[in-house]
């Protein structure tokens, strides 16, 4: 049998289609997907037929995890900074400039009492996630730390929303659909783990209701339903 002749030198493969594909996928992912925010705690959300999007612009969010720990966040770096400054003044907890910056960059939320906040903010973000007992103190009384966080965030968010509304309306100019002022009002979102005890969630709901904030949005994953 005649021996097969092997080609000499390195075999060259045309990589162009592969490169095409790779960059096509890169482009797709860049355009189609949003970045995941660094969540402070992992929460399994229940499903419902709710089909509204999470109001990203003016969001005030409280998270309750499986163990009933409470976390807080709101949108906007400057809002978070202002809220923190007011909380510092109220609870007389001094924080370094560095800690304030860390806090205002924490988009995923935080969970800790005011007295422990300096220590909490000095930790690395991975260490923060591993604290088993970190939670914002909350109870059924009219004044608790969570109520103050929500209250200050509500006020700041109102101003921020107004500013944002004017800015975006000006940017849009006369053409196009006029923006609704309602879209820029603070929106209160409650993200509760599906296995969390409802009593804990209810305590948080009561905090909102004590502040006369009666419209709450529950974060849920969408499920298909036939009506």
């Amino acid at each position: 049998m005649a021996k097969l002749k092997l080609p000499k030198g390195s075999p060259s493969i045309d990589m162009t289609p592969m490169v095409d594909l790779a960059f096509l996928l890169v482009t797709f992912f860049m355009l189609a997907a949003d970045f995941r925010t660094d969540e402070v705690v992992k929460v399994e959300i229940p499903s419902s037929i709710g089909k509204d999007d999470i109001p990203q612009k003016t969001l005030v969010m409280v998270t309750v995890d499986t163990k009933g720990r409470v976390f807080f966040t709101c949108s906007g770096e400057e809002v978070r900074k202002k809220v923190l400054t007011q909380m510092m003044a109220k609870y007389k907890v001094p924080l370094s400039e560095e800690n304030i910056t860390t806090f205002s960059r924490m988009e995923g939320g935080f969970g800790c009492s005011m007295s422990e906040l300096p220590k909490y903010l000095s930790l690395e973000s991975e260490e923060r996630k591993n604290l088993p007992n970190a939670t914002i103190p909350v109870d059924t009384s009219a004044t608790n730390e969570l109520a103050d966080w929500i209250n200050f965030a509500n006020r700041e968010m109102l101003d921020y929303g107004k500013k944002k509304f004017e800015e975006e309306s000006a940017k849009q100019g006369k053409g196009g659909v006029p923006l609704k002022a309602d879209d820029f009002k603070p929106k209160f979102v409650l993200k509760a783990d599906m296995e969390a005890e409802y009593v804990k969630v209810k305590t948080v709901i009561e905090v909102f209701r004590n502040l006369k904030l009666n419209n709450l949005n529950f974060v849920t994953s969408q499920e298909a339903h036939q009506l």
Binding site: S12, P46, G50, I205
Partner: protein, 211 residues
């Protein structure tokens, strides 16, 4: 590998430089590396399944006590416990009440489509019929979209429409509560009130749970 083929050495001095024949091959490996690196980065950091929100408006805390609550003709109360749900129709009558009415019995149901959803659909026929009627008009362009919405809200507020109270006990999970509220939205219930469980209801529920 694809590569640029170099002509050997410096070549002859003063010789005419000739353009190379054939296509110049460029080594694409680094580009591919970079492409896939970016691809991996974007795949890992991005999210697609955007969570949605379900809006729920609670009744205001300070209710004006001089205004009496409207008469409810058609009401259901759901009592939610750990993965179990019970209901009763109408008002609650404890054992040995003054009115001489029979004591309220709890009926167990489930979170599936054959449970709560069926009960709600059967009891909310007034609103559901109204919706079909209005939708028919809307399709025939007899009424506008805004009128449709207005009429719908009005229908849900009428006394014949089903009103639902949701009460949870200490053992209920968030999932259970959301499931019930979700079913209420599916059944087009207009008036939803999450309220505290009363002591006698809790006692009745505990008894049922033991069974």
């Amino acid at each position: 590998m694809a590569e640029i083929v170099e002509s050997g050495g410096g070549g002859e001095k003063g010789g005419k430089k000739r353009p190379k024949k054939g296509s110049a091959r460029i080594d694409m490996t680094p580009m591919v590396d970079l492409g896939f690196l970016l691809l991996t980065f974007f795949v890992l950091t991005s999210t697609f399944a955007k969570p949605k929100v379900m809006s729920l408006t609670y009744p205001a805390k300070e209710i004006d006590k001089t205004v009496k609550p409207p008469k409810v003709k058609n009401g259901i109360t759901f009592l939610v416990s750990d993965d179990r749900v019970f209901y009763y129709k109408g008002e609650f009558y404890p054992v040995g009440n003054a009115d001489g009415k029979p004591a309220t019995q709890l009926i167990e149901t489930d979170f599936g489509p054959e449970g709560i959803r069926k009960i709600l659909k059967e009891n909310n026929t007034f609103v559901l019929n109204k919706i079909t009627e209005l939708k028919g008009k809307l399709d025939k362009k007899q009424i506008s979209d805004s009128i449709y919405k207005k009429e719908l809200i009005a229908a849900k507020g009428e006394s014949e429409a089903l009103k639902v109270l949701v009460k949870t006990d200490m053992k209920a999970k968030t999932r259970n509560f959301i499931d019930v509220i979700d079913e209420l939205y599916i059944a087009q219930i207009g008036v939803i009130a999450p309220v505290d469980i009363t002591k006698s209801e809790q006692a009745l529920l505990d008894e049922k749970l033991k069974q």
